[in-house]
Symmetry: none
Subunit: 198 residues, 4 copies
DNA sequence: GATGAATGAGCTTTCATTCAT
DNA sequence: CATGAATGAAAGCTCATTCAT
């Protein structure tokens, strides 16, 4: 098996990933043949396998890049934020901004990524972990500062993540007819309500 | 095409449905050939098509029965409940109880049901609608009674549904190692926090 | 295997045959499931097998009855005809009248009957033989009377049959928009031309 | 869907087509699984779909090539022929020579091609049209030269085509035991008789 | 005689992946 | 590095036929 590592900055690697987001986002994982992705990327079918181990690897890679981008942005801006409410605002903002910019990417993340088997879900879980860690840190920050009640961390995290997730899914599945960013404030508020002391 | 209607109470219909929950729940929709479901149900492949129009119809039917059961139970018990907090408690309880009883069913609902195409999602949406309606009614009840803040209905609903959904998904994907029912109280509390006035 | 003989006059036997002509005539042999024929005939699927050995047997039986009717009518009227031209006129007339009356039957005979395998073709050949004999007799009659040239019998027969066949096929495949009977005269004339001495 | 065009000169394209003529010619369209054709052609099942859209496309393509060859040959030689009788002779000759050379091809054309549904018959009709045109032209030529009576064009064409068709069908269905070419002369003669003035 | 539920063989088509060039 | 022709396994679905009732 040829080496795939460190091709990740190649032009074709990026082209294939973009093509995959578009094709899978619009047609779904099981209606997105490699040949279609390759054509969209302007490469031959076989070339895809020079950059990705297999079709699943494409799915995973997209998620890794997407979540990577989100986590990077948050970790870059978060250090300057001391207010847990503002921190949560940042998390929601980055999430909504990233997915709100591209319906293909949103469809991919919220809908088609779900078409995965057990092994892939394990990998997905690991990729998402740093994102969860950030949320956990914010909750802890709020609890320490006395602003939040002392919730079970997992429950609080799931409320935050579940609310964001459901909001974006509903947005994309109803046709992305409004600006997702307009929901940052109310979504953050209802979360804060759930977390805060009375 | 032979008539499929009103075979729904037949023994074989139930057998196929149960087999499908089990096989799809464990292997996933796209790794669950009809032949596997049929074998599990103890019938011939062709028999499946005497009871279901096609493979998608099985998926939809399972959801309809599951959500149907949940909605029925809630609508049966809800009329006697006047406190919105208790009403929400009921909703969470029925949801967690139903899915907490069968990991196959939970896997099916939380994970594999997501493996659907555009057309199926439309049907799924219609089946789930009454469930959303119940949640909306409870929110309105709370707002009217002055207990809840006057949230955007959709935001509030998504927070409630997203939180429950994420909670069950996390439970099932981490191996269903604890009793889902133990989370009813804290999940309800964090939701109420998000909805309530300070 | 149960006895099928002598059921041929039964009401259900006729009902199934009629239904088969209609269903096969409209949908084609391979799009005419037994279940569809049975429903059209108002009987259960299994009942068909009390009257016919299998699906092919239905096809054969229809042809036998149709050709039988045609041959019977011709043989009934032919003895009074001494002019070979008039005899040929009779043959064409009966053929066109029989098929011109029912587009389902015409589609069946001219189009869908062709969907047969080697074994069936053998049977079809035997059923059609008496029809060929009649045509042969007429040609001989004309040759004996000095009206026709002394053609190779088979060639002449094929010209006659081929011309009729092609005429009816063209009529039915172009939508049966005109009266088939209007072609009796010109078709007969061109045949006679081919057969006659200069 | 990958491009199929212009693969028509490929070696495999020809191999599949030949295999299809053989397999369908011997077993019939509905008894000729793609797998059998592929094996006969020495390719994998999937390869067939690189060269043909689907199974019907194979049928149509064979006809197109066959009729194409016949029409091409006739149109090549016809311009030099001014006698309508000789022209008709040419038409019969080319038809009989082409089909007389290969019993598989004859079986295909005369028997199994009939196993088609409505949509395919439409396409078949269009492919055959130029062949009909040639016959029509010859008839007109004969009428203009005063050699033929002024027949209804369609009747005359059907007599010609029906006679040839029936002749070849009878030849192939009786086992191709004699040389089809020996029938050119008598078949032509009986046609000419039908067309000519007394 | 009649029913119709049940069977299971069989077929077309798709597509991830490989590998000779 | 790149190509794209070729592969062949895999799966959903239909339907002629049987047989217990």
């Amino acid at each position: 098996m040829r080496e795939i590592a460190q091709k990740k900055n190649s032009e074709k690697y990026e082209a294939i990933l973009s093509a995959a987001v578009k094709v899978i986002g619009q047609a779904g994982y099981h209606n997105a043949p490699i040949s279609k992705i390759a054509r969209e990327a302007g490469v031959a079918d076989g070339t895809v396998y020079l950059y990705f181990k297999n079709k699943e690897d494409i799915l995973i890679s997209i998620l890794r890049e997407t979540i990577g981008t989100i986590v990077d942005r948050i970790q870059e801006e978060l250090p300057g934020v001391e207010d847990p409410v503002k921190a949560l605002h940042l998390v929601v903002t980055v999430y909504f901004e990233t997915l709100g910019k591209s319906t293909d990417l949103a469809m991919f993340t919220q809908v088609h990524l779900r078409q995965s088997n057990a092994e892939m879900r394990k990998q997905i879980g690991e990729i998402i972990r740093p994102y969860y860690s950030i949320i956990d840190d914010i909750i802890r920050m709020g609890v320490d500062s006395g602003e939040f009640r002392d919730h079970d961390l997992r429950i609080a995290r799931r409320m935050i993540f579940g609310t964001m997730d459901e909001t974006v899914t509903a947005w994309i599945l109803t046709g992305a007819k409004y600006d997702l960013l307009s929901l940052i404030q109310p979504v953050r508020d209802i979360m804060i309500g759930g977390l805060s002391k009375k």
